[in-house]
């Protein structure tokens, strides 16, 4: 299939300089008989296009062209369980408001469930211009089949140009099904969203290769532009009782709604200290030296009403349970304060906590990368610093917050 090309190179004019070979971030170009050959693993990033000194390389345009002009507005899927909205929905509204303002288009929330009228009001207070509600016993639990079918109908009727879903377990299962149904692109687990001022396209940024690389992705020719968005990265929309959001009850139409997977049982996870919801997270790393170090952190967390986090190596060592793990392979946290104790700060860990409001790092190694993200960095030994700190906090609390 040599006649089918995705990258076009004008080989007649090619000087065989090889600059494109070294420009390719994926090593997907090789020189064959003094001319570049694009290999199958090409990711179409376009690096070679701009690198060619003679301007001989071009991307062949995508053949997908939809009726993109008809689509307006930013829609947010409001995940709920038992009538309680998942906070990621408020974060999506926060980001969605920003995007909708830039586009000068409305912000929608779409809520599916059973007995969820109250929850709908909550979404209006958080800035949604319109809250679309599908209230039906069939939608009581989140199940991909009926949810994707109902959301697909919603999109076809209301035609939002952007559709955001929280990258929760459910969101990352539901999102792809919906995108495949709607024949549109979906970007997974985004940590950055912005509108390109010129093209008005949604620029979606996400980590790849375990967070070692970031990629910005667009969905130029199909609608809606869909993204799942990582929890605890965007800022929640503030409550505003003056918000005049309209609540629209949508009629449930059972035609074409599939319902193939039954839920037989749900066992809620044991109530552990949720590092995701805590305002203060005190985390430990290998620098603690042993499992016992976490006791020191627990004591401090107790007096500060915080939760204990951990880096992956400590979990791998079995010093602490996986539920405490912060980072790409664990949880993303965005507390008001993050205290990193003996954590060197691998990229994967930083990806899970660097958006915390304040970061205090204590580490013996002054070269530790954690200091690059710290608001306050202490080069020192946790075992020496933390007990003194703990005493100071206790005294402060005892003396009625007088210094």
């Amino acid at each position: 299939m040599e006649d089918f090309e995705v990258i076009r190179i004008d080989l007649e004019k090619c000087s065989g300089c090889g600059i494109c070979v070294s420009a390719c971030p994926f090593g997907s170009i090789e020189m064959v008989e003094n001319h570049p050959l694009i290999k199958e693993d090409c990711r179409l990033c376009g690096s070679c296009v701009s690198a060619c000194p003679l301007g001989l390389i071009s991307l062949v345009e995508s053949s997908k062209k939809g009726d993109v002009e008809q689509y307006k507005g930013v829609a947010v899927f409001a995940e709920q369980r038992g009538g309680v909205i998942h906070p990621v929905a408020y974060e999506l509204l926060g980001k969605g408001k920003e995007l909708s303002k830039q586009l000068n288009e409305p912000l929608y929330a779409v809520l599916l469930g059973c007995g969820i009228k109250e929850a709908a009001g909550e979404l209006a207070i958080r800035g949604a211009d319109k809250v679309y509600v599908y209230d039906d016993p069939m939608l009581r639990e989140i199940r991909e089949d009926p949810y994707a079918d109902v959301l697909s109908k919603f999109v076809k009727e209301e035609k939002p140009s952007i559709f955001l879903i929280g990258a929760t377990a459910i969101g990352r299962s539901l999102g792809p099904k919906l995108a495949a149904k709607l024949r549109t692109g979906l970007t997974a687990d985004c940590t950055g969203l912005e509108i390109d001022p010129e093209t008005k396209l949604l620029k979606q940024t996400r980590p790849a290769f375990g967070g070692n690389v970031m990629a910005t992705i667009i969905c130029p020719d199909s609608r809606p532009q869909m993204a799942t968005v990582r929890y605890k990265v965007m800022k929640e929309a503030e409550k505003n009782s003056d918000s005049k959001g309209e609540i629209i009850e949508k009629k449930m139409d059972y035609k074409g709604i599939s319902d193939r997977v039954k839920i037989l049982d749900f066992q809620p996870a044991k109530e552990t200290v949720s590092i995701v919801d805590a305002d203060i997270v005190i985390s430990g790393g290998k620098g603690l030296g042993e499992a016992k170090g976490f006791r020191l952190l627990e004591e401090l967390a107790n007096i500060m009403d915080g939760a204990v986090g951990a880096s992956r190596p400590t979990v791998d060592e079995g010093w602490i349970d996986y539920t405490h793990q912060v980072g790409l392979s664990g949880k993303t946290v965005r507390p008001k304060l993050y205290i990193a104790c003996g954590i060197s700060g691998a990229v994967q860990h930083l990806a899970g906590m660097k958006t915390s409001d304040y970061i205090i790092a204590i580490n013996k190694d002054k070269e530790a990368p954690i200091f690059k993200v710290a608001t306050l960095g202490i080069v020192g030994d946790c075992y020496e610093v933390l007990p003194i700190l703990q005493k100071k906090i206790m005294e402060y609390k005892k003396n009625g917050k007088l210094r």
Binding site: F4, C45, R172, G175, I263, A269, A374, L376, K397
Partner: protein, 265 residues
């Protein structure tokens, strides 16, 4: 069903490490000497497919889409115990996003009918999206269940599984055919035996190109993709604050003052 299960397992060949770095001078990914392996998450799907075969009888077909070198991943899967392997490979399929990838896989799997179960890993270590599985199910017109951490059993064409969500564990049931994505909790993947390796060496790898898959080339690869990567970069280090090397008493005082300042105590 009477003659056992027809199981299809989808895998991907990925770089053996995610520790890729971008050369700050050239802005390109450094990837010297990085070997390719089966996506670690897919090994759990392969293992589970073999366990299902061992329990219920049947046949496991392993499918991948990729460049010709991806054949090695298929041979490794046969060495573990898969029975047949199909390599979907054609320049037309290059540059596919998850939508186009899942469409291509679906067109191939349609040709392998009848099947009872399609198994996928949770996600890949390179792309890290976890989208191809559920998108594939939608293209195939079958239901899917993500994050399966235990298969409870199959009875009369109905499968029961548990899956791990953020806030708890669900027990679900569905008629077959069904697509599952499985987590690392589900099993411990076996190592290939010597006999398996010898078998794998000689195994025939079926190749599916556009001709076998069918359809318009525009549906596949880049031109069939809705998303486009416009920029690849190393995450920029956030601005750092004050770093001090002082004795513990002063350090604790500094931290304490900060806590008061930001009103967390």
């Amino acid at each position: 069903m009477s003659e056992g299960l027809n199981i299809i397992v989808c895998i991907k060949q990925v770089p053996a490490t995610t520790e890729v770095e971008i050369d700050p001078e050239t802005g390109t990914l450094k990837r010297e000497g990085i070997e390719s392996v089966i996506n670690p998450f897919d090994e759990y799907a392969i293992e589970e497919s073999i366990r299902l075969k061992e329990k219920y009888g049947g046949i496991v077909k392993v499918v991948t889409m990729g460049p010709p070198m991806a054949e090695q991943a298929l041979r490794d899967a046969i060495a573990m115990g898969c029975d047949q392997a199909i390599l979907i490979t054609d320049r037309v399929f290059a540059g596919a996003d998850t939508w186009a990838t899942s469409l291509t896989l679906a067109r191939c799997i349609d040709k392998l009918k009848p099947y009872d179960i399609v198994l996928c890993g949770l996600k890949t270590t390179d792309g890290d999206t976890g989208q191809t599985g559920p998108e594939l199910a939608e293209h195939l017109g079958i239901p899917h269940i993500c994050y399966v951490n235990r298969i409870l059993g199959i009875d009369n064409g109905v499968m029961r599984v548990t899956r791990a969500l953020d806030d708890g564990v669900e027990t679900l049931e569905s008629n077959l055919p069904l697509l599952l994505t499985v987590t690392k909790e589900i099993n411990h993947p076996r190592l290939a035996t010597l006999k398996g390796r010898l078998l794998a060496k000689r195994a025939e790898i079926k190749k599916f190109t556009l001709k076998e898959i069918g359809g318009d080339p525009k549906e596949y690869g880049l031109s069939g993709s809705f998303t486009r990567v416009i920029k690849v970069f190393t995450p920029s280090p956030p601005v750092s604050g004050e770093v001090m090397e002082v004795d513990p008493e002063i350090a604790a005082q500094k931290i304490f003052e900060k806590l008061v300042e930001i009103k967390v105590i």
